[in-house]
Amino acid sequence: MLQMSKAPALPATLLEIVNLTKSFEGVKAVDDVSLHLREGIITTLVGPNGAGKTTLFNLITGHLRPTAGDIRWQGDSVVGTAPWKIAQLGVARTFQDLRLFSHMTVFENVLTVMENSAWFWQSEAGSVTERRRRVHEILDATGLVHKAEVRANDLAYAERKFLSLARIMATKAKMWLLDEPASGLDPGSYERFVTLLRNEVRRGITICIIEHNLEIVVSISDRISFLDQGRLLADGEPDEILSNPELSSIYFGERNP
Amino acid sequence: MLLLQLIINGIQVGALYGLTAVGFSLIFGATKIFHFAHGASFAISAYVFYYLYAVLLVWWPISILAACIVVVVFGVALDRYVYGPIQSTDGSFFTIFVGSFGVAVVVQNLIGTVFGRGFISVPSALSKSVELAPGLYVAPTAAIAVVIAVACFVALQLFLGRTNIGIAMRALSESPALVRTFGLNPKAVSTCAFALGSLLVVPAAVLTSMTSGLNAAIGGRVMLISVAATIVGGVGSLRGAACAGLLLGIAENLALWRFDPQWSEAATFLILFAFIVLRPSGFFGRAVNS
């Protein structure tokens, strides 16, 4: 995969962000950002706190409405589309604060994500046995099988992180937006986490990830987009972004005041 | 002339609604506690005043002072011994709401048992109407209500803008962490919010006891109006709550122009519902879609 992204021809665009702006009471949290999220690779959003990364996610998923600009999913604008419809189009996300279904069991957390219909019949999710089998597979892959009947609230921190990932694996989404999914993981869990992501990308999933830890950014990214104060400062190959002295001064300036 | 009469009545009632709603809004803004028992505070202070002034014939300033003390103690005690423990364990909107609602139920029934469930009112020369123009009757209480409401609101704004704890109270609605940077204990700020918010019901309680009268169930009604005014005005905006209270008071009275009195509460509900549908952020509020 890394090889592919370094080839001169870039993969096709799955989601296109065009001159996107979002202001809160005059303050521009996202300021005229244009960005292509390309198929089958991992794009990392980096930048200091308050750079507008999570706001960008909220705009893409429809949780927020942009002040100006456009968001195109496979060429069609999705601005103004309800969040649940955007999700059904194929964009799934995790949250920085996880937002697990805290009073439901681990098993139910994953199962309910597959059941997208508001009615009783789940024509697109397969039979009940089929669904249960898939939940098992996912819990197996994320190492949560022995916790299947535990309430999400009662999980340890790393387990909660993996449940958040298990939930997104249960969707049929083509694109995952991951908001700091690895923060606070110990090295062992982190290894497993990266392997999982790589497997999913190999399966054809497109990932956009917000990450602070530079080590993780280096090891995981195919492309990096650098945001600061709502503006997109740079967008390119990891090497060129990380070797840019101006960007690292902004980045580390914020990190070590 | 009837219309003018209704508007004047509406302003009198609305000023008092506004003041009560500001108390609720202040508590909600500063502590995020949905203080459903705010109506109970109103009922308690009104009945304390009634009992001392009209039954025991205590001098009126003492009666009002006693009402103030009792209601502040009630509010602060709730914060300390009911909301505090709930917040330290669960603290979800629901548990606080149920706890608060339970208190309101207990208070309403205690008052009903002690003072009876019928209407009572405090006789006072101040509520005797004078015919200002042909067919236009105004009692001194109307002027008193407006003057006191404006005075209280101005005093509150000064307090919130000028004093350390007042600024902290406004900050608490933004972020609890910010308050610690002021060197103030969030608990102390919360206590202060409950004391002030509860105190703000006293003028309305006393004047209502002289004008339209009291019954044991008045707390629930006051509660509906406070919540409605807070939402219509925009959550977190004291100015909004005050204006919305005024609006609700006027609307209730204007409804009398065409409808029977029992429908006046419907006006409150219709305005509330219209705002929830058309403008959920209220007059001055920010977007609130969860």
């Binding site: 139910e108 999710a125 | 009911v82 364990t89 149920v98 339970g102 139920v105 509900f269 519902f273």
Partner: protein, 292 residues
């Protein structure tokens, strides 16, 4: 004595249906409504009005009452559910106040403050149910059906969606759940079933008036759910049993004047709500939460 017990048991069944349906939206959908008594009232008035004017057929009464209550609640819920939970509480409180006024003023339909009297007994397939024991059987069957149906829904994919929305609405949205539709459907179901209790109530007592459908009633139903344990299967039933028997038990206290029983009952459950929230927010049956 037997007649007295049968009477209590019938009322317990009706109250249990009310508590279960309220628990369905409070415990599983996270919607806190103070207007449950309105839909209880709608069911009761529809049944009474139909019985007095057109038909004593229980089936027709049930269908009409469920539809009317469900549609009314959906009309209320669609706009109000778009906003925050505390707004819905306020909106439902306002709606309860408005509905109480309508119940007591719309004299041609509700009989005004005096209510409707002499409601003829309901009939199933031409057989009029006049015997209290038979009626208790009917109420018990209705309760059993509501329990089975509600439990089935809670355990279905729909129930999981509801719980997901309750736990995190934004996450549920982000995973493709049509939150507004799911919530509205759940409110529709809850209020339609609540209307069933209303129909039974009107047919059983053969007399109804606004006093059974006020904010005090809504509060009582909420207390049943909370005391028993919100979000559990048995909690609301336990709560309904306890709070229905409470006034009956209070009449055995000789020092209590009869006129104060209602008041004392409310004080007891008000206090119970406060203490439970402080010490045991999950309710009496709360230890079992999560199994559902």
């Amino acid at each position: 004595m037997i007649a007295y017990l049968i009477n209590l048991a019938t009322l317990v069944c009706i109250n249990a249906i009310l508590a279960i349906t309220l628990n369905f939206i409070m415990g599983y959908a996270g919607i806190f409504s103070l207007a449950h008594a309105v839909f209880f009232g709608v069911g009761a008035y529809v049944a009474a009005f139909m019985a007095l004017q057109w038909t004593d057929s229980l089936l027709f009464q049930l269908v009409a009452a469920m539809l009317l209550a469900g549609l009314l609640s959906a009309a209320l819920a669609l706009p109000a559910l778009r906003v925050r939970g505390d707004y819905f509480v306020a909106a439902s409180l306002g709606f309860q106040v408005l509905a109480t006024t309508v119940f007591s003023e719309w004299k041609s339909v509700t009989g005004g403050i005096g209510g409707l009297v002499g409601i003829p007994p309901a009939s199933i397939a031409g057989h009029a149910i006049t015997d209290p024991v038979e009626f208790f059987g009917l109420a018990a069957v209705a309760l059993a059906l509501v329990v089975v149906l509600t439990t089935a829904i809670v355990r279905s994919s729909f129930g999981r969606s509801l719980k997901a929305i309750r736990d995190s609405e934004s996450a549920a949205l982000a995973f493709g759940k049509n939150v507004a539709l799911i919530k509205t459907l759940s409110v529709f179901y809850s209020t339609a079933m609540c209307a069933v209790a209303g129909v039974l109530y009107a047919d059983y007592l053969s007399f109804i008036n606004v006093e059974s459908f006020t904010i005090d009633a809504s509060t009582l139903f909420m207390a049943m759910v909370i005391v028993g344990g919100i979000g559990t299967v048995w909690g609301p039933i336990v709560g309904a049993v306890l709070l229905t028997l409470l006034p009956a038990a209070l009449t055995y206290l000789p020092f209590l004047p009869r006129t104060e029983i209602g008041s004392v009952q409310q004080m007891i459950y008000g206090l119970a709500m406060v203490l439970l929230m402080i010490f045991k927010p999950d309710g009496l049956m709360g230890a079992k939460q999560g199994e559902a």
